[in-house]
């Protein structure tokens, strides 16, 4: 418990005797969530190469508890690493809805953010936030692995603010979507 207590000076209090730890439920749950972000391996284009480097030895995503999962059923983070074509939009929405909540989305690179160099293409979606809500945007073409690590750390900060009392752990951003396309408060999973 020594390491945890060093990390949690203001949020957790050890009780006298050393056998007990007093903290809030929100903090305890969010702590588990932020250090066990299991991303779906979902590389779409060249950003995926940088994503793989971030998993590999030099940057070692495993240190953050970021362990890639092959199935959306086991994942709670969707790393959109690359260009989202309009033909891929349907499968992405399907994968997103197969993930258990709370689920998070990181848009990696200019293409996933806004279409990037393909913003005027006939076949490329102008940002993955048109179909699913995005928690963290990482700019770059492609972003370096340091930027991806920084984006994950920002997502961890965001997770730490989640409250159980406010809607089952999902943030309002997740409920609504970062760009409300239909105007009635939710896109309802419709593409």
């Amino acid at each position: 418990m020594g390491i945890v207590l060093d990390q949690l000076p203001g949020c957790a209090k050890p009780l006298p005797g050393g056998q007990f730890l007093l903290t809030t439920t929100d903090y305890f749950i969010d702590l588990g969530r932020k250090y066990s972000l299991w991303p779906l391996t979902f590389g779409l284009a060249c950003c995926a190469i940088e994503m793989m480097v971030a998993y590999a030895g030099r940057f070692d995503f495993d240190r953050f508890g970021v362990i890639p999962r092959p199935s959306p059923r086991q994942a709670d983070l969707l790393l959109i690493a690359g260009t989202v074509t309009k033909k891929m939009a349907g499968p992405i929405v399907e994968i997103y809805h197969q993930m258990p909540e709370p689920r998070f989305v990181v848009a990696m690179g200019s293409c996933a953010n806004c279409g990037g160099p393909f913003h005027d293409s006939y076949s490329v979606l102008k940002g993955v936030d048109k179909i699913i809500p995005v928690d963290v945007y990482i700019p770059g073409c492609p972003p370096r692995p340091e930027a991806l690590v920084y984006g994950i750390m920002e997502l961890q900060k965001k997770i730490l603010k989640m409250k159980i009392a406010k809607g089952g752990g999902a943030t309002p951003q997740q409920e609504k979507g970062s760009r409300d396309l239909t105007g009635n408060g939710s896109n309802g999973g419709q593409v």
Binding site: K86, Y122, S123, L125, K126, V191
Partner: protein, 194 residues
């Protein structure tokens, strides 16, 4: 079998009646310009059976219409029929590009690439078809690999391959009308565009 690229080119030209070496070959590969669309099957069969070119690498095409002024074209098409490509009433204005050095003309320049893996040879066939009548015989009976290649050329450039077993879209979404790599393609806004 042919031992060198020159021998292969000579034998193919000898076999075909209306073919000639292309004026602008692709790099230094033997490139044959066909003038009769009916001869592509004959040429491909000869390449495969006699010259050992048993590997179809690629089928594609180039639209030589040249740069176009597309302002208002998409809106006109959308108004005419939202999800169907409407043929243009008149030829859209063709803007010459000064200094480009290319002769713009309303043709699709088709390109087939054949490989001979045993002798490390490569052969290109070219054939011009008119844009509004872009039809050519399919090679799927000779090369199963031609299936998806021809579907791609059909999807992106609108070349119709006669005799293809399943000539449907392969890359673009179902609601995309038209052929995006054609020079007069004007994108109509779909459900993903703002």
């Amino acid at each position: 079998m042919a031992s060198t690229k020159d021998a292969a080119l000579a034998r193919l030209l000898e076999h075909l009646s209306s073919a000639e070496p292309a004026a602008h070959p692709i790099k230094d590969y033997p490139t044959v310009r066909l003038s009769d669309p009916a001869e592509i099957t004959k040429a491909a069969a000869f390449l495969k059976d006699e010259l050992g070119f048993d590997y179809l690498e690629m089928i594609t095409a180039v639209d030589w219409l040249g740069p176009m002024q597309l302002d208002g074209l998409a809106a006109a098409r959308t108004a005419a029929h939202p999800f169907k490509e409407t043929p243009l009433k008149a030829d859209p204005p063709v803007t010459p590009a000064p200094g480009a050095g290319a002769a713009y003309r309303p043709v699709l320049d088709l390109l087939w690439s054949f490989g001979n893996l045993r002798e490390n040879l490569k052969m290109f066939l070219r054939l011009e078809v008119p844009r509004d009548q872009a039809e050519v015989a399919s090679l799927t009976a000779l090369f199963p690999a031609a299936d998806w290649q021809e579907r791609e050329a059909f999807d992106l450039l609108g070349v119709r391959f006669l005799g293809h077993p399943n000539l449907t879209k392969i890359l673009t979404t179902e609601d995309l009308a038209g052929h995006p790599l054609r020079k007069d393609y004007a994108h109509q806004k779909d459900r993903f565009d703002e």
